[in-house]
Amino acid sequence: MNKALKKAADSIDPALFEFAEYDEKAAENSGFSNYSYWRSTWQSFIKNKVAVFLLIVLVLLLAFTVIQPYLPNQKLPTKIYNDEETGLQLRNVLPNNEFWLGTNSIGQDLWARIWSGTRTSLFIGLVVGASEALIGIAIGALWGYARKLDRIITEVYNVLDNIPNTIILVLLTYILRPSLSTLIFAMCITSWRYMAKFVRNLIIIIRDREYNLASRCLGTPTRRIIVKNLLPYLVSVIMLRIALAIPSAIGSEVFLTYIGLGLPVETPSLGNLINEGRLLMMVPSLRYQLFFPAIVLSVITISFYVLGNVFADASDPRNHV
């Protein structure tokens, strides 16, 4: 009996139990479909006409904010314009050919200030969104994968999560000197938690699913598991959080400026402009100083918000056919 078993064992070719190299052609032969994650995402994204429209608006707006200073006949956002005859400042000039959106209360060109402010606000939003993604994904991945760390990070998270965000923002910007880096720092401190929580929860749900177990048993390298099995599920959440982080960072900037902790007046930002407009809003003829920045602000924030939500739906592999 033993001999028979041994004989059978000897005749097994050990090479059959080696992990095979990943070979795309071989994979295609075993039931290949021409499914591509990004193509499917794009296809379901462009089905939403509102989202496509907003995407075009946003791309044009972003492109315009970047190239605006290089166009001909542009004024400087911080230069105070004086009347050539009297030498007085051109205060609160209504929109005309010279000043397309009029001037503000000390004679600066509102058109130039709005685009300069949009650049500042977008810069804040993009930096905060990017650092939220970096910090949040790193901590969230650690939190989800490393089982030993789970308890500690959860406890720390629960304590931190109880502190109202507004309070942290106000406290930090009050204590530090008001500047662009202070604002970005304070917002980064508060915002990474959402991303970390989402990433952690998803990783915990997905990491032990059967298809991942099967993949691991078949010897798929960890890198491939992460890139092909986990990432597509995370993309939708990550993109959604980044897309929402931008309007909320812009909103926080407006809030902090409103309570007097924002950027110095020399740096135009949408928050600064709205605040300047607010001071004049009781004079009906000067309300344009509030409206123009408010319109640009609303278009940007609504576009990011809607696009983020639509893209999150489109990039969720469960919604792909």
Binding site: I163, L171, I175
Partner: protein, 314 residues
């Protein structure tokens, strides 16, 4: 249930302790000029030193920290420096608290009533024009910074409805717009989540069974869908407390309401450190309390919840 609440209470206490310590340490980083009030440039070095010693700011850090804790426990929050010099902060707050409290609570009530009704209506007319309008409202509230629509409301609604533009505690009409404005954000989040939960519930198999056995749509909606969808709504309550806090900061200073939110803006602009410090502590305590109550409420509604599952829960 009781065990959970106690554990959760302990967690809140730790958070409060962390905040108090952080606030104290961060406030020590502030430049010392803030402690002399508006007489800063008239004092010589010795007088400045005397003021600082008198306030205990020359003691070693751990003694300062100990004094700070014991002062807080005895209800001593220091005295205001600039806003109302030499007046204890606690006395200033006593006058302000009722306004913020009434306004905040009425905003919460308005949000609850109208937000939930909006959510139910949006589910009822799902995909129709009403649902789309509601979604538009939610998108605008969530995306656009609050300052923009608060300002527009104050500017135009006061004009159209002939409401007073500034707050006057004797005139009940002047309460309306501030309270409604403050409730807008929470209202949107109630409507959004209730609609989402109800639609989720509607897609479940037992609803199909109920339809199949001939139950009336109304009964299904009220007895099954709404009842189940309301359970997770409890976790939104603390969120709306937080929204109301940040709303009150805007609204109270916009309408010159003599409450704590407006006071915070004043204190920040005049750099009155003890006042800012106390207000930060008050607001964070309210926030922590709101989150704690929300979680306990959630546990009462849903017995499956255990503390170990938190972390990702909210």
């Amino acid at each position: 249930m009781l065990k959970y609440s106690l554990k959760r209470l302990l967690q809140s206490m730790i958070t409060l302790f962390v905040i108090v310590t952080l606030v104290f340490l961060l406030m020590r980083l502030m430049p010392e000029e803030g402690y002399y009030g508006d007489r800063g440039d008239k004092l010589d070095e010795a007088q400045k030193e005397a003021i600082l010693t008198d306030m205990g700011l020359r003691d070693p850090l751990y003694i300062q920290l100990k004094n700070f804790y014991s002062d807080l426990l005895h209800g001593d929050f220091g005295t205001s420096i600039i806003y109302r010099p030499k007046v204890p902060v606690i006395d200033i707050l006593k006058d302000k608290l009722p306004y913020s409290l009434y306004l905040g609570l009425s905003a919460l009530a308005i949000a609850l009533v109208f937000g939930l009704s909006l959510g139910v209506l949006m589910t009822r007319f799902k995909g129709k024009i009403g649902d789309k309008l509601g979604t538009g409202y939610i998108v605008i509230i969530n995306a656009v910074p609050a300052a923009v629509y608060y300002l527009l409301l104050q500017l135009y609604v006061t004009d159209i409805l002939k409401l007073p533009i500034l707050f006057d505690s004797d005139n009940p009409a002047s309460w309306i717009l501030p309270a409604v404005s403050m409730s807008l954000v929470s209202m949107a989040s109630y409507a959004m989540w209730l609609r989402r939960y109800m639609v989720d519930e509607l897609n479940k198999d037992y609803i199909r069974l109920a339809r199949a056995k001939g139950l009336k749509n109304k009964v299904i909606m009220v007895k099954h869908v709404m009842r189940n969808a309301f359970v997770p709504m409890a976790q939104l309550l603390p969120m709306s407390v937080l929204y109301t806090i940040s709303g009150s900061i805007y609204i109270e200073s916009l309408y010159s309401i003599p409450g704590m939110g407006g006071l915070l803006v004043d204190a920040i602009q005049r750099q009155d450190n003890p006042l800012v410090q106390t207000l930060v502590l008050v607001f964070s305590s309210i926030g922590i309390l709101g989150l704690f109550l929300g979680d306990v409420l959630m546990a009462i509604f849903d017995p499956r919840i255990k503390l170990s599952k938190q972390g990702g829960g909210r």
